[in-house]
């Protein structure tokens, strides 16, 4: 779907939690998982221009123009009412950006940046755009110093990775669960592709970080943690492993009533993983109250 254009739900010029150094982060719209625990659910869907959000906008920033719903950033007060009103978990504020638009933003902020991380949604749904963008950055002398990362759920076949990896410096890969049934229940998809991606990326030397979201009563079980440990060891004991703790922020639907993951549980799991010989286990740098 590229044509050098992608649906961008948001970008940041300052991010210290999406890879090494300060990173420009591009959030692309649309996801192939439907995680009940998603904290950015409005990045999952693709807008159908149904218009349901137009009525709830208090500032007149949303208008129906012909068949399209159009967002005007001028009057928008960032109240996010439109996000809660959308039945398909889409976002009417998404803007369509070309590769050149992104290059221009990167240029304006280049002195402050160590790199670019493309996140989602699921970034790899926009594979052609990623390839075009990364190739253009690598070819631009004033941007070539930026390291290029993808934040992905790994739901991409080997053929896809082979196309994008030559221009990619690193991938942050989320494993949502090891038990296949649990993975289906939490994400609506199977985890075999995701696990294969972990192996493929590690093999290619492009796995920057393996991420695992701990959810109480789900993915914090000893079985899940020991499966995580086994995978990490298989990928190499120097695999960088990041444990995240489930929180309610942004979560919609049934998971909003689940208990948040307690700090002690994450630290205990980290202890087990470190004791098994994994060198780099990273914990959340801030604990929510």
């Amino acid at each position: 779907m590229s044509d050098g254009v992608a649906a961008v739900s948001k970008f940041l010029t300052w991010s210290v939690v999406d890879g090494p150094g300060n990173r420009f982060v591009l959030f692309l719209q649309g996801c192939n998982y439907h995680c009940v625990t998603c904290h950015n659910p409005h990045t999952i869907g693709v807008c159908s221009d149904c218009g349901a959000c137009v009525a709830v906008c208090p500032s007149g920033a949303l208008k129906k123009s012909g068949r399209k719903v159009v967002h005007d950033p001028g009057p928008c007060i960032s109240c996010d009412s439109c996000l809660s009103a959308c039945p398909t978990r889409a976002n009417p504020m998404v803007r369509r950006m070309t590769v050149n638009d992104v290059l221009e933003l990167l240029r304006r902020n280049a002195p402050f940046l160590n790199g670019l991380t493309v996140s989602g949604g699921e970034a790899t749904l926009h594979l052609d755009f990623l390839i075009d963008l990364f190739t253009a950055i690598k070819a631009a002398p004033d941007l070539a110093h930026l390291t290029l990362f993808i934040d992905s759920n790994g739901n991409l076949p080997a053929e896809g990775w082979q196309r994008v990896l030559p221009v990619t410096d690193g991938v942050m890969l989320d494993i949502k669960a090891f038990d296949p049934e649990r993975h289906r229940r939490l994400t609506g998809a199977d985890n075999d592709l995701s696990l294969a991606s972990a192996r493929l990326l590690a093999e290619a030397g492009k796995l920057y970080e393996l991420r695992f979201l701990m959810i109480p009563g789900e993915t914090d079980s000893p079985e899940e943690i020991s499966a995580l440990s086994a995978l990490a060891h298989e990928l190499g004991p120097h695999t960088r492993l990041r444990l995240n703790a489930f929180q309610h922020h942004g979560v919609r639907g049934p998971a909003a009533t689940w208990a948040p993951m307690p700090r002690a549980g994450v630290e205990a799991a980290a202890g087990v993983l470190q004791a098994s010989g994994l060198a780099e286990v990273v914990l959340p740098s801030v604990w929510l109250p």
Partner: protein
């Protein structure tokens, strides 16, 4: 008179003031029993309305606001007046400096500048091991913090990467004291990235040092150069600043009918009145106070009466711009909206031009130096200097980009603080890149605080810890609110300023 006497009595009998604080408060009261320096009626009226402000420096300026002695003089020659021989060893050099500090006047009663310490001490370090050096610096640092506990007392290091600078950075990160404040003078040609990285790592550990853009400052000052002192003021070394008076831009905007009236009529008017106020105060210091006469600091060459500038301060840029935006019916706010930011930049350019047109006698180079002033604790409803109002700052990169065009105008310093949330602790490379980028693009000073910020970016989006707390609390009985409070206190714990050490200069009435 009876009112004054009862005020003096209140101070003398106040059970909460220390002996030292009483002494200083009584001295301030006594000074203010004298008539104010001679002002014309129009200037007086603007001062009474606090559209212009003398920082409550006192009615009869008898000492310069900031004194930046050239300590090299006493280390090279000793001091006849203080009966100090020329120091020969590192211990003697440090001891000489410690004695020297007690003879340096300033607005706070404590020195605001304690020297380019690495350049001063390096010649005494031959034969001193790294470990010995570090231990001596630690003792020196403890002495400063316990004996001269003022957050505005400032040491400079750099631009070279050297043993003393490294020992200081190491001790500073370890001790995490409020005093001394510290600036590294960074020159990409000379310093190298290694020491810049050490500096940004230190910022993560203790929000110090500040990093000054050495090539940009150096260009402004002649020999023997400059120093960064107090709240990020760049001033001539071997001199300082005679006085600081400032304009409340918010009040000037409120007196204006619109942008054109502000830029063409009101701003010129109040710049002129503030200049008159400064002239009167500077004149008193130089011609009536006798400060420079028979002063051993002058006679021995620690300071030179021709090297004192006057600082032309401004504050409340944010409120001024937002008020002018309101008058024009434009919704964009300062710090966030490109048009509002550009209006701010135009105001700074206009200020620089106007200040340049106000000649000043006795003052270094004959004109005052523009300064974005950091504020007094009594300022309410105004934002310091050209800063973006607290709590509404954009992310650090957008923040730097929004303020960058101001920096070239504020020759005596622009006090800006970037607040970084705690997640940077695990990613020091990001702070390094931010500092490097800001300095490369022309930021005069890079200052960052890593705080237990309420606003934290956890994944893609910023959230407020307090909101999460409210949300959790509303979910009722399953969550123990007491435990929450305790945990939040743990998360948001940093920068509890020690009560023993205070920012003296923030207090009205020239501090303690």
């Amino acid at each position: 008179m009876t009112e004054t006497l009862s005020q003096l009595r209140r101070i003398a009998q106040n059970p909460t003031l220390s002996f030292k604080q009483k002494e200083h408060a009584l001295a301030v009261e006594a000074e203010n029993m004298l008539p104010y320096v001679l002002l014309d009626a129009e200037t007086r009226a603007a001062l009474d309305a606090r559209i212009i402000c003398d920082m409550y420096e006192g009615n009869a300026p008898y000492k310069p606001r900031y004194v930046l002695p050239d300590y090299e003089v006493v280390l090279k020659n000793g001091s006849t007046h203080l009966e100090l021989p020329k120091p020969e060893t590192l211990d003697e050099a440090i001891n000489t400096l410690q004695i020297a500090y007690h003879h340096v006047p300033s607005v706070t009663g404590m020195p605001v500048f304690i020297g380019h310490l690495d350049a001063l001490l390096l010649p005494f370090c031959d034969g001193v091991s790294d470990d010995e050096l570090y231990r001596k610096i630690k003792l020196f640092w403890r002495y400063i913090d316990r004996v001269l506990p003022d957050a505005f007392l400032h040491a400079d290091i750099g631009p070279t990467d050297n043993r003393v600078a490294r020992a200081i950075l190491r001790a500073d990160a370890e001790l995490k004291q409020v005093a001394p404040n510290l600036t590294f003078l960074y020159d990409p040609e000379v310093s190298g990235e290694d020491i810049l990285r050490l500096c940004t790592d230190n910022i993560i550990a203790c929000s110090k040092p500040h990093i000054a853009n050495h090539p940009i400052h150096r260009e402004v000052f002649d020999e023997p150069g400059y120093a960064i002192v107090s709240c990020y003021n760049a001033l001539p070394l071997r001199g300082g600043a005679a006085s600081l008076a400032r304009i409340n831009l918010k009040k000037v905007a409120e007196a204006s009918s619109g942008e054109a009236d502000f830029l063409d009529v009101q701003l010129p008017r109040y710049v002129h009145l503030n200049a008159r106020l400064m002239r009167a105060r500077v004149d008193y210091l130089f011609r009536q106070s006798g400060f420079f006469d028979g002063n051993f600091l002058v006679e021995e060459g620690w300071i030179d009466r021709d090297r004192f500038t006057a600082m032309f301060g401004i504050f409340a840029m944010a409120e001024a711009v937002n008020h002018l935006q309101d008058l024009a019916g434009r919704p964009g706010r300062y710090g966030h909206d490109a048009a509002a930011n550009e209006l701010g930049h135009r105001i700074s350019a206009r200020l620089a031009e106007l200040v340049e047109r106000e000649p000043m006698e006795h003052v270094w180079r004959g004109v005052a130096m523009l300064h974005a002033q950091a504020g007094l604790s009594s300022d309410a409803g105004t934002t310091p200097g050209v800063r973006i109002p607290y709590g509404s700052e954009p992310d650090p990169v957008s923040h730097v980009q929004a303020l960058l065009p101001h920096h070239k105008h504020y020759l005596s310093g622009v006090s800006e603080i970037l607040t970084l949330d705690e997640t940077v602790r695990s990613n020091p490379e990001a702070v390094f890149q931010l500092a490097k980028g800001a300095l490369q693009l022309g930021f005069r000073e890079f200052t960052a605080n890593v705080t237990g910020n309420d606003l934290v970016r956890v994944t893609g989006f910023m959230i407020r810890l307090s909101d999460v707390k409210l949300y959790n609390a509303a979910r009722g009985s399953r969550v123990n609110t007491t435990a929450l409070g305790a945990e939040a206190a743990e998360t948001v714990h940093i920068l509890d300023r020690k009560p023993r050490v205070v920012g003296l200069e923030l207090m009205a009435g020239s501090g303690v």
